[in-house]
Symmetry: C2
Subunit: 474 residues, 2 copies
């Protein structure tokens, strides 16, 4: 039995769209009622999670979609996973829900095992973890760790000066220093004010919000497929050009660059891959200039590239300083190795809750199931199968499949359509035909199924995709 | 039967400290093991939430403390509340935990009722809610709403210019405008970068972190008790002085002030009350200068002042623009009234999860229980009883009880000791004698019991307090 069969014996064998149009009339009614108290403008449909199962999501009209979007890449093991339901019913979970601790002051006796369970899945070279609440929160907590580390190193572990203690209360240097996080064009790292300053995806994510004057470096725009010999020279030139730009910015930016933040694959920004050579080049530069190196694995982490953490493909040496996560781990936070990233005094990295124990329990169980069912191998195998099928479609419709990418990166696959109108039309048609798929950037289709997605699901998707293309794009 | 009796038939009748010192040896061992993966420097003890019940928290040595700190003011109804346990076991909760939706794109059919349930408890004049994950997050989401509203009003609803769309990608104005949130000295609004810029409690919360150059106005330092005729003239002069300072800052600060943020009682900053006159004066100023008025009810909200929301005492007219909450509601977010605070386009106030449905369910149930058991009246009654007892102790030890405050504000009571050393010693001794109590500012004791705290619990606390004072402070 495959993992999907054993988790989901009643999973549908095909998607079913019952309504003439999507969204159907019950969804429209539910959206109108929900609209009284919630912003439904971005809503595709109103989901019935009670009826959703495995790789299929059901809406309130009873339409059953094969889901390749998985709550914006956040569902690791499919809907209503029985192993997670067990955890949700456990006494530990009930305690975590009804007696939410202020973990910093009153850690629960359950905390040690929860954290050690999450640390089992830490990337190579990381052996501590600090917990937050969302991807943006994880990144901002990592920024705090990076800034404190950077300044502490500068003052060689000495105590704060009187001037620092006074100026900080007025938001002025030296207590509130001018320091920058360098990120990349097209990056997405969250939507709070510091994470938002590092984000550079679309204007609408940032307009009207004050920002720190932080720099955005050039991110490589490769020729795909990445491994192809024909593209090697071009791509290396592109890497070198961008590395040079990073070094230039570190050397010349008017605010000292304390940290560098990068996604191994820019996900919201268009599934733009970073090569092993590029990620290692950044390690060399960050060491040369004493910059803290942070990898954002919020969307790429927890298995969907075929490794638990995508940046493991690059085998960066020595390992990066901080790795942030969220989404598929439900729980958020950052991993680190060097104890110097533990702040010099208590209450510097602190808040009421210091994380969410209910979500830590879920994260631990997700990691456990991935290992137990060897879902990384499955994801690699299924991804390769999918990629091949997409290459087939690409041959049939070369103008509709630009930059097909994600080869050997599990099911983390994307391609570009010629225009955003065609991309949007394709996504809409896919949904009407029973497949829920997301986009990224302006004209890319991104595949983000859960780790229980198998070859049989691929076959269904490829058929629906071929049909949808035939209906509206050729 | 009282609410505590009916919720907690097996609640202990007295605290019990079994170990010679606190923390005891099992706690020390647990802390040392936990210390391998967690920052235990701020930890008082390791809690056993399985054994904790009602107003009593138990540590891993079996010490049973009467809890007047309640997870930094975050436990609304006591430990292991049976009504919340029911919710934790409900099918809705299990779905929320295992199928965490991306609510913005794929709202669940449960979302409408969850939000409407929370809105039942919205403060007067507020009829919409937007959901976040923590108090800091709630404040930053409110800042986003305020900045977008402010700029949209300035451009009179017109579309973004080309210049705005381009400059925002470089974190530069006009797309990333220079706008400020005005907050107050001694304020605490969270520890992320924008909320941290509004926070002005202690240097250690902010040192080494870049900050926005936002202003901190004078917050009134009253003579207590507040209602006393003898203090009326002094206190009004103090209000006028601070209102003048706020107006001056709004008029002269080099960055335009788009929003004003205030706690009705500064909680981390020392339980500094804001009078009705002051809060109304701020409404008048914010209207005069087109500043968005935000009330931070993260610590004061959800009942412990004897009203559901503390600022309701001030009956601010017209109502403030945004009210943020978290802690006792477990769920976080902001309330608002004016539909103009719904951003002009989708995806401006947006993120993967758009809140935490598991915590929304808990929040709704907490509100329901508060109303059903009339816990606001109980809290007012118990608070008055406690205050009277503390006035008695104050008469005995006038030098150890300065600025006793919180009269007619439920159990939200505090007083100052002459020094931080004496305050810390008192808190430590209270714990050794079976009462878990927190401090705030440098030398205040703050009482933050749950809403199920009754007269009998007061009597125990007052006895332990008298004994502790006799042991170490006289």
């Amino acid at each position: 039995m495959t993992p999907a069969e054993s988790y989901y014996p009643t999973e549908p064998s095909v998607p079913t769209v019952l309504t003439e149009t999507v969204p159907g009339q019950f969804t429209l009614k539910a959206m109108s009622q929900l609209g009284e108290v919630f912003d439904v403008r971005p809503s595709y449909f109103v989901a019935d999670f009670e009826k959703s199962i495995g790789n299929y999501i059901v809406d309130v009209d009873g339409n059953t979609y094969l889901d390749l979007y998985a709550q914006i890449a956040s569902i690791a093991l499919g809907y209503n996973n029985p192993a997670l339901i067990e955890v949700a019913k456990s006494p530990e979970m009930i305690r975590a829900l009804v007696d939410r601790p202020a973990l910093g002051n009153f850690p629960s006796k359950d905390l040690e095992s929860m954290l050690k369970q999450i640390l089992k899945f830490a990337p190579k070279g990381q052996d501590h973890v600090w917990s937050g609440l969302s991807g943006a929160d994880a990144n901002e907590l990592a920024f705090k760790a990076a800034f404190m580390y950077y300044k502490n190193k500068q003052r060689q572990g000495k105590d704060f000066t009187k001037e620092e203690n006074e100026s900080v209360m007025n938001n002025l240097p030296p207590g509130s220093p001018d320091l920058a996080v360098l990120s990349f064009k097209r990056a997405f790292h969250g939507r709070l004010f510091a994470s938002g300053s590092a984000t550079c995806s679309k204007p609408i994510h940032k307009l009207d919000l004050p920002a720190f004057r932080w720099p955005h470096a050039e991110f490589p725009s490769y020729k795909y497929p990445l491994g192809d010999k024909a593209n090697a020279e071009f791509n290396q030139r592109e890497d070198d050009r961008c590395l040079k730009n990073v070094e230039e910015l570190i050397k010349t930016w008017p605010i000292p660059v304390a940290a560098l933040l990068i996604e191994p694959i820019q996900s919201e920004g268009g599934d733009n891959h970073a090569s092993k050579y590029f990620l290692q080049g950044l390690r060399d530069l960050t060491l040369k200039y004493n910059v803290v190196y942070i990898i954002d694995e919020v969307q790429t982490g927890v298995g969907s590239t075929g490794k638990f953490w995508c940046h493991e493909y690059a085998d960066i040496t020595p390992p990066v300083d901080l790795v942030t996560f969220s989404k598929k781990f439900q729980s958020a936070g950052y991993f680190f190795h060097d104890p110097a990233f533990i702040p010099s005094a208590p209450y510097r990295q602190f808040n009421t809750w210091c994380g969410e124990p209910a979500r830590m329990l879920i994260a631990g169980a997700i990691g456990e199931e991935i290992v137990k069912n060897d879902l990384l191998s499955q994801c690699s195998r299924v991804g390769a199968y999918m990629f091949k099928k997409l290459e087939g479609l690409q041959k049939e419709h070369p103008t509709l499949f630009h930059n097909l990418r994600g080869k050997d990166r599990g099911t983390f696959i994307a391609w570009d359509l010629p225009s955003s109108e065609q991309r949007d039309l394709l996504l809409k048609t896919l949904r009407a035909n029973g497949c829920n798929v997301g986009g990224c950037s302006t004209n890319a289709v991104r595949l983000r199924p859960s780790l229980t997605f198998e070859e049989k699901h691929c076959d269904i998707f490829i058929n629906v995709l071929a049909k949808s293309i035939a209906q509206v794009l050729v």
